[in-house]
């Protein structure tokens, strides 16, 4: 499977689609100034944003002395921060991502590659992190389009393994990365410990959070019959079931509740939530869904 994934990421069709994305995103950015992507945060840059009262402890260098001369009051001059934008991509590489056709991991890799490509084209800093039981060594601070091969190389080197621990991975991520920017979490969120704590770590980092929830088709519409012993791929947990219509009904209701719950949780906290199955073409996802939700312009 890994070799198949490697070839498929490098396959000409995929690369052609990336090229297409480049053209499309070029078109989008044409005629716009650099730094168009404004950060919500104030910071030090040339573009004035606002004034605010001085409080003890503020950097004296930022005091607007002109205003002080006129009004005899201390104001701080605030500027829109000129971001050196980071595009963080957190890709779940736990064992559960190995399912589906194409596998959820493969799909996630494609999405990550596409986002990275767009980021590189926009001269953002691209950070790729894979995680399963914990954060794995990632690819940091890649800039410029010419580095795209590194991205692909890194993505191809990712293999699903181990039991996923979303919380631990996010905690480690929050500690490791201090940069500002946007963070995209690509995962199936099938973690028995829950996703709330994990996403809270990321929220605390004040990142623009995007959640891409990937599920395979067989998870949405299970193609199972008979009396089965279901074995969890990650923790070898066993559930004995006899497939029946009520059970399937119940499963779908649970799935909907799970997806709906995640979506609601994210929306309430300003996290953009995108649900997709592996059957949804990744370029369509990038161009339509992500644009709708403001990840790409």
């Amino acid at each position: 499977m890994p070799s198949a994934q490697a070839t498929s990421l490098l396959d000409p069709e995929f690369l052609a689609k990336l090229e297409q994305l480049e053209l499309v995103s070029r078109k989008i950015f044409l005629g716009r100034l650099k730094g168009e992507r404004k950060s919500k945060r104030r910071g030090s840059s040339v573009e004035f944003a606002d004034h605010r009262n001085y409080v003890v402890g503020d950097d004296l260098r930022r005091i607007d002395w002109n205003v002080y001369g006129r009004l005899d009051k201390l104001f701080l001059k605030l500027f829109l921060e000129e971001e050196d934008l980071h595009v963080y991509t957190l890709l779940d590489t736990s064992q559960s991502m190995e399912f589906g056709d194409p596998t959820k991991l493969q799909y996630g890799k494609q999405v990550a590659a596409a986002l990275a490509f767009i980021g590189l084209v926009n001269h953002d800093r691209v950070v790729l992190e894979g995680f399963s039981s914990g954060l794995e060594p990632g690819l940091t601070n890649v800039r410029a389009r010419s580095q795209m091969w590194r991205v692909i190389q890194h993505l191809e080197g990712l293999h699903s393994s181990g039991a996923g621990n979303l919380t631990a991975a996010c905690k480690a991520f929050a500690i490791k990365h201090t940069g500002k920017g946007i963070a995209v979490v690509i995962s199936d969120f099938l973690d028995k410990r829950g996703y709330q704590d994990a996403l809270r770590y990321l929220l605390a980092r004040n990142l623009d959070l995007y959640v891409i929830h990937v599920l395979s088709k067989e998870e949405v519409e299970p193609d199972l019959v008979g009396d089965l012993r279901l074995v969890d791929a990650e923790d070898d947990d066993v559930a004995e079931i006899s497939i029946s219509a009520p059970l399937l009904q119940r499963y779908k209701a649970n799935l909907n509740a799970f997806v709906g719950g995640l979506k609601e949780w994210c929306t309430q906290r300003g996290i953009a939530y995108i649900f997709t199955t592996t059957h949804n073409p990744f370029d369509k996802l990038i161009l339509n869904y992500l644009r709708e939700r403001g990840l790409v312009k």
Partner: protein, 706 residues
């Protein structure tokens, strides 16, 4: 009414080809399935990304735990049902049957004349055969069946066999007879087969396991057209009657008529209207007033609920063309009201020897009784040898014109009777009747005899008692010899010799001293004895003989008795149309021939049948199975004829009796219209098992609940 549980038999029986060991193994199958199911050996492991959602789903479902467990086990239940159905099918369940294996059946099929009725298409007999075949079809592999047919006698068509093919072919080949019905013989036969004799069981000893356990079930397929059977014990035989026909116990079918005629209510209720018009009697006789004319009398009964207007047609058959349809010579319009009889009469000039047939032209359910046959001509004279002591009254009576019409009488003296010639004639069967008047021969002749005033030879007549002045008390007016004899009470008798009649005799005249007239059988002949002579020879020497009785002097009954004796004992016959022969009964033919063989031509005979003379000097014809006209021929151009007719009101009455059948003192209750179905149920159960498997497959694949 209480229910006798001890006699109750389960309507479902099992006949499995498998033995106990196989069953023990098979019984383990469902147990094994349950064990496997609960050991969960059958669950297929499947790796899924996460059991997270499944666990939640299961927890939800576990809320209603017991019910959910049941639902979860639906497949198990289906499998158990499937195995159960297979096991039941293997057990071979059947409806109706008593023993588990080796059931025996006796199928008695009525093929009497009334079974030819077409009130059920194609005929009652076919219907009965079909019902019988149904039982054959339902027979198990180790069942045995026997097929009987019965009309006036019973016949074994197939003895006990399990060969269904043979039984089927035997049943199919049963033909309707034209005989009357007698269930007694069939029941006797069936009882002998169904109740194995205790002797047999005892002989088989303790190891004999084939005794009472193998009692047979007797099915009687009939339309019920037979008399109740008196003095018959069924023993442990329980015949089941399958009644074939269109109408059954239809007493309530004619309520209107019973309202109209309340007086006849009982009669109307008894008779059930059936679609039949029948000739019940036919006879030819010389017209008493015009001796040159013959009369054909008949009686027609209409069994229908409405009046019938029809025609009785008289046909003449050419003796040289047996089997032709005849020439119409006369016809009479008949109007027979509902459920009643009508007589008819044809007059015809003395036709000589003639074969006659009467047909009534009506379409009804039973064709057989629409025709009647009779014969005219060739009066047969009795050949009588009269050994006389010169008794003038007796000799005079035998010479009257009416006696001369009946008999050729040869009178000889006792001395002549001792000559070789007459001894030889008497031994050869030359004579029909030998009358001994006060002469006792040394040995009885080969002929019927009539003794006057003397007892026949033989040891049984040795212990005699001479009586004086016996008084006649009673006489048997039912005996043919005593026909029209009415005034014996006034007859005076002086001397008589009384003897205890030999066994089998019929007393004709009873006196206060004992029987003074009786008929005793002897080797197929009859010895009629009048124990008093007309004259009496007193013991004292030299005395004249004196008249012993005033019977010949003053009473009409004497010539009548002699006339009866000539007719009955001498086998005289006036027209031939007087005798009644029923189909299936043996016919005794007397030929005025010294030849040893005669030939019989008749219906149902493909070629003339040759008969040999019996030791009694008669010819006995046993194949008069069909109604019709039979010709007997001997010599060059000599012969006689006889007619065989089914004149039986019971056979012609097509109404059936269901619950009314009575055998002995027992009212038969086990009466049904259809042979009991004894279906092998394993087929539908096996199909059900297949359906269950398909259903399970469907549920498994479609993941649906019903």
């Amino acid at each position: 009414m209480g229910f006798d549980f001890s006699s109750w038999q389960s309507p479902i029986t099992f006949a499995s080809p498998l033995g106990a060991v196989s069953w023990a193994v098979l019984a383990g199958v469902p147990v094994g399935i349950i064990a496997l199911y609960f050991l969960k050996l059958r669950r297929r492991p499947v790796q899924v990304p996460s059991t997270l959602l499944w666990r939640r789903s299961l927890e939800d479902l576990h809320v209603n735990s017991l019910f959910q467990r049941l639902r979860r086990n639906l497949l198990l239940f289906l499998q158990l049902l499937f195995v159960g159905a297979l096991l039941v099918a293997l057990a071979g369940p059947r409806v109706m049957g008593t023993a588990g294996r080796g059931q025996r059946y006796v199928l008695a099929i009525d093929n009497s004349a009334s079974m030819a009725a077409t009130d059920v298409a194609p005929s009652r007999l076919e219907e009965a055969k079909r019902e019988a075949l149904r039982i054959i079809d339902q027979m198990g592999g180790d069942d045995l069946a026997m097929v009987l047919t019965f009309n006036d006698h019973a016949r074994v068509e197939a003895s006990y066999t399990a060969n269904k093919q043979l039984l089927r072919s035997r049943i199919t080949s049963i033909q309707a007879s034209e005989s009357t019905t007698s269930l007694r013989e069939a029941l006797t036969l069936a009882a002998g087969l169904a109740n194995p004799s205790t002797d047999l069981a005892a002989r088989q000893g303790p190891a004999g396991t084939r005794s009472s356990a193998e009692s047979a079930r007797v099915f009687v397929f009939t339309d019920g057209g037979f008399a109740n059977i008196e003095n018959f014990s069924l023993g442990n035989l329980q015949p089941e009657f399958v009644i074939v026909g269109d109408t059954l116990d239809a007493a309530s079918d004619t309520p209107n008529e019973s309202e109209k005629k309340p007086a006849d209510e009982k009669a109307v209720k008894k008779a059930t209207a059936t679609d039949n018009v029948a000739i019940l009697a036919l006879q030819t006789a010389r017209n008493e007033e015009k001796p040159d004319q013959f009369q054909v009398f008949g009686r027609v009964r209409n069994y229908r609920a409405e009046a019938v207007e029809t025609e009785a047609r008289l046909f003449k058959h050419d003796p040289d063309k047996p089997g032709d349809s005849g020439t119409l010579i006369d016809a009479i319009a008949l109007k027979v009201s509902a459920q009643s009889e009508q007589a008819f009469k044809f007059d015809l000039p003395d036709p000589g020897r003639e074969l006659l047939e009467v047909r009534i032209e009506v379409e009804d359910a039973l064709k057989l009784d629409n025709r009647g046959f009779t014969t005219v001509g060739t009066p047969r004279k009795a050949q009588v040898l009269f050994v006389s002591q010169g008794d003038r009254y007796l000799a005079g009576t035998l010479k009257t014109p009416s006696a001369a019409q009946l008999a050729d009488v040869v009178e000889i003296s006792p001395e002549e009777a001792k000559t070789k010639e007459y001894v030889r004639q008497m031994d050869s069967g030359r004579y029909d009747l030998v009358i001994f008047d006060r002469y006792r021969p040394e040995r009885p002749p080969a002929a019927n005899t009539l003794y006057f005033g003397v007892l026949p030879p033989g040891p049984q007549y040795e212990s005699t008692k001479a009586v004086k002045g016996p008084i006649v008390l009673d006489w048997d007016i039912g005996h043919p010899l005593m026909q029209y004899v009415r005034d014996l009470r006034l007859v005076r008798i002086m001397h008589a010799t009384v003897v205890e009649p030999p066994p089998g005799s019929t007393n004709l005249i009873e006196s206060n001293e004992g029987p003074i007239g009786f008929v005793a059988p002897r080797m197929g002949f009859a010895d009629a004895v009048i124990a008093f002579g007309l004259f009496h020879q007193p013991e004292d020497e030299g005395k004249e003989i004196e008249l012993n009785t005033d019977w010949p002097l003053r009473f009409y009954s004497f010539p009548l008795f002699i006339f009866n004796a000539l007719r009955v004992l001498g086998n005289a016959r006036e027209t031939g149309g007087e005798e009644v022969h029923l189909p299936g009964e043996p016919v005794v033919i007397r030929a005025d021939s010294l030849q040893d063989t005669v030939k019989v031509i008749g219906p149902g005979l493909t070629r003339p049948e040759e008969l040999k003379r019996s030791p009694q000097g008669t010819f006995i014809f046993n194949n008069a199975n069909k109604a019709g006209l039979y010709q007997v021929r001997w010599g060059e151009d000599e012969g006689s004829d006889f007619a065989v007719n089914l004149f039986d009101a019971r056979e012609s009455d097509l109404s059936m009796r269901g619950k009314g059948i009575k055998i002995g003192n027992i009212q038969v209750t086990d009466v049904r219209r259809k042979a009991p179905a004894r279906l092998d149920w394993w087929w539908p159960i096996a199909w059900m098992a297949l359906a269950l498997v398909l259903f399970e497959w469907y549920i498994y694949n479609k993941r649906v609940y019903v």
